[in-house]
């Protein structure tokens, strides 16, 4: 085999092997995070808990199964949703600086949640009204974006980005108005919601989130190849046989569903949607059949680790996880950028 083929095969296998490594690392990170927390659970305790033995006290069981595990799982799902949506949006807009927030869904979800706090409805429907209003807010924002753009097709991607910026500005001012007019109680709840937290995790929430992640992942995975082709520009992608309008619509819908659901349950958590796909590309190359699953895994692991920090660093108190996503993601990202690698987008 000639040297060029050898080199290429090597690189291709390296990408696949790294993805496999990420997939194997994922359960390790999950288990580690599940075994750590404010309440000390030693290896013996974990064994008793997982095997259903009677030595596990009622308190231990409550902490592990009702409080800690749903929280770790929620963090993984939220991280996966945000990162996957980020990968889709970055591929679609051909911009590694794109963030799912560009399509307005995060700001819309924030407005929905803040409105709920403002009206004092946060406890209604067994606490489900809050995430519901956040989710609806996120989707409405995306619909408004579509209206601005007279159906996503017209005007192309550049116009879409600008419309997103305008929408975010408008929603920001609506948000500001609510914050200004809120009672002190509501204001504090609003502020802490917007900083993001996985603390109120419940198992039913994780089930809902799995459904949305599955829908979004399916929509995006179908267009992995199209996302690759789009890197040549929308015109050339169309010549290659990509239905650009359909791809754009479905990726935005998929991203909106995932970010809307994730934000509904965990508040606005920034940075992940931007950084995780980038990390995936640095490690795995530019092909979306590697980048999409890679971003999903990296996003999930990052948020699980950030949440671990949020609940242990100042225990028994809690930190807002949004502060930590930047603290965990930032330096790691910088380190990745410094590595010499011809996979990097230069």
């Amino acid at each position: 085999m000639n040297p060029a083929r050898q080199e290429h095969t090597r690189r291709r296998t390296r990408g696949r092997r790294r993805l496999l490594a990420l997939a194997l690392l994922f359960p390790v990170v999950l288990l580690t995070a599940a075994s750590l927390g404010a309440v000390r659970l030693g290896p013996a305790d974990l064994w008793h808990l997982l095997s259903g033995g009677e030595q596990a006290t009622a308190l231990m069981r409550a902490v592990f199964w009702d409080i800690r595990l749903p929280r770790v799982v929620l963090a993984a799902l939220v991280g996966a949703c945000l990162a996957l949506a980020g990968a889709g949006v970055q591929g679609l807009f051909r911009n590694p600086l794109a963030d799912p927030a560009l399509i307005g869904v995060s700001a819309g979800a924030a407005v929905g949640a803040v409105l709920c706090f403002f009206l004092g409805w946060a406890l209604l429907l067994g606490g489900w009204l809050l995430p519901l209003m956040a989710f609806v807010g996120g989707l409405l924002a995306v619909l408004v974006l579509r209206l601005f753009n007279t159906g996503f097709a017209a005007g192309g991607t550049a116009k879409l980005i600008l419309a997103g910026v305008a929408l975010n500005a408008m929603l920001g001012s609506v948000l500001g108005f609510f914050l200004f007019s809120a009672s002190d109680d509501a204001l504090r709840s609003m502020t802490f919601w917007t900083l993001g937290s996985c603390a109120s995790a419940r198992w039913p929430q994780t089930v809902v989130l799995v459904v949305f992640l599955a829908i979004g992942a399916t929509l995006l995975w179908r267009h992995a190849r199209a996302l690759d082709a789009l890197q040549l520009g929308e015109e050339q992608a169309a010549h290659l046989g990509v239905s650009v309008r359909r791809v754009r619509r479905e990726i935005i819908i998929g991203a909106a569903l995932m970010v809307g659901a994730a934000t509904a349950f965990a508040g606005t958590i920034g940075f992940l949607g931007l950084v995780a796909p980038h990390m995936a590309r640095l490690l795995l190359g530019g092909l979306h059949r590697l980048v999409l699953p890679g971003a999903l895994l990296i996003g999930a692991m990052l948020l699980v680790l950030a949440d671990l920090g949020a609940r242990t660093l100042v225990a028994p108190a809690e930190l807002a996880v949004g502060i930590l996503t930047a603290a965990v993601g930032g330096p790691f990202f910088l380190w990745l950028l410094r590595r010499p690698s011809s996979w990097s987008a230069s």
Binding site: I67, F192, S197, A317, E318
Partner: protein
């Protein structure tokens, strides 16, 4: 001779069929203050951030801000009783705590001086301190009576505004539906900022057209912010009786609706009546 109380402490709970909680976690300044007033200070294993201003609670582990608690953090303190104020949150965490099996009592945080009794009684019952509670309630009732007398004695109601500092260095005035508003009324004043609900930033016109007689300043307005006060037209340093008089208050005592509130209110009511 110490054996008798020890014996009683060990046996009594068995006799009454209910063990007194030994490890208590509190969230909410009023709740914590009441617990301390009932002599439960040593049994508090952790408190929230707003409760750590008391001498007894200064060094206790901090479970965080009352509205953003963490279930596991609280449970890691191995409490046998959790006392929380009604503003505690988030709701999801309270649910998790409820399911954990640890006794949790919620104390409603109203803006009525008369409700302080009820808060004391609820906490006393949950902790088996009903006898100590009577003394505390008696004191509180006395203080409320004294306050009411002071207020009734005055003929006109002074115009008062309550200011606190928000992040970013702006001054906010308390409108209706705030604890400050309730207290202004309780000390016999009229809330000059009563035209809106919640907190709003001040506008200079406010002080120019209808200056208040008194300005109650939260301790959150620090030394550096004093400049903010002076900068407002109509608000002077109060020299030679010109402009409103500035009175500093201890938030936790004055606005907490805990056992110290009636006496703190009486102090303010007195200041309001000084010529």
């Amino acid at each position: 001779m110490r054996l008798v109380p020890i014996f009683l402490a060990l046996v009594l709970p068995a006799l009454t069929g209910q063990a007194e909680p030994q490890r208590i976690v509190t969230a909410g300044a009023a709740v914590t203050e009441i617990a301390c007033a009932l002599g439960l200070g040593p049994r508090l294993v952790a408190v929230d951030t707003s409760s750590r201003h008391l001498e007894e609670t200064r060094d206790k582990p901090d479970i965080g801000y009352v509205r953003t608690l963490g279930a596991e953090g609280i449970l890691s303190q191995e409490p046998d009783l959790i006392l929380i104020s009604s503003e505690a949150g988030p709701p999801g965490v309270l649910e998790q705590l409820a399911r954990s099996g640890v006794t949790m009592i919620t104390v409603a945080n109203g803006h009525e001086l008369e409700n302080i009794d009820d808060k004391i009684r609820i906490i006393a019952e949950a902790t088996g301190r009903t006898s100590e509670a009577e003394a505390v309630i008696a004191r509180v009732t006395e203080d409320i009576a004294a306050l009411r007398q002071l207020v009734a004695a005055g003929d006109e109601r002074p115009r008062v505004v309550f200011l606190l500092a928000r992040h970013g260095g702006s001054l906010m005035a308390a409108g209706t539906e705030t604890a400050a508003h309730a207290m202004i009324e309780a000390v016999g004043g009229v809330n000059a900022a009563g035209s809106f609900a919640g907190f709003r930033p001040l506008t200079p016109e406010f002080f120019a057209t209808q200056p208040p007689d008194f300005v109650l300043v939260s301790e959150s307005v620090g030394e550096n912010d004093a400049g903010l006060l002076e900068g407002l037209p109509g608000l002077g340093a109060g020299s030679a009786g010109q402009g409103p008089q500035i009175i500093r208050v201890d938030d936790a005592a004055f606005l907490g609706f805990g056992p110290r509130t009636p006496s703190a209110a009486a102090a303010v009511a007195t200041a309001l009546r000084r010529p």
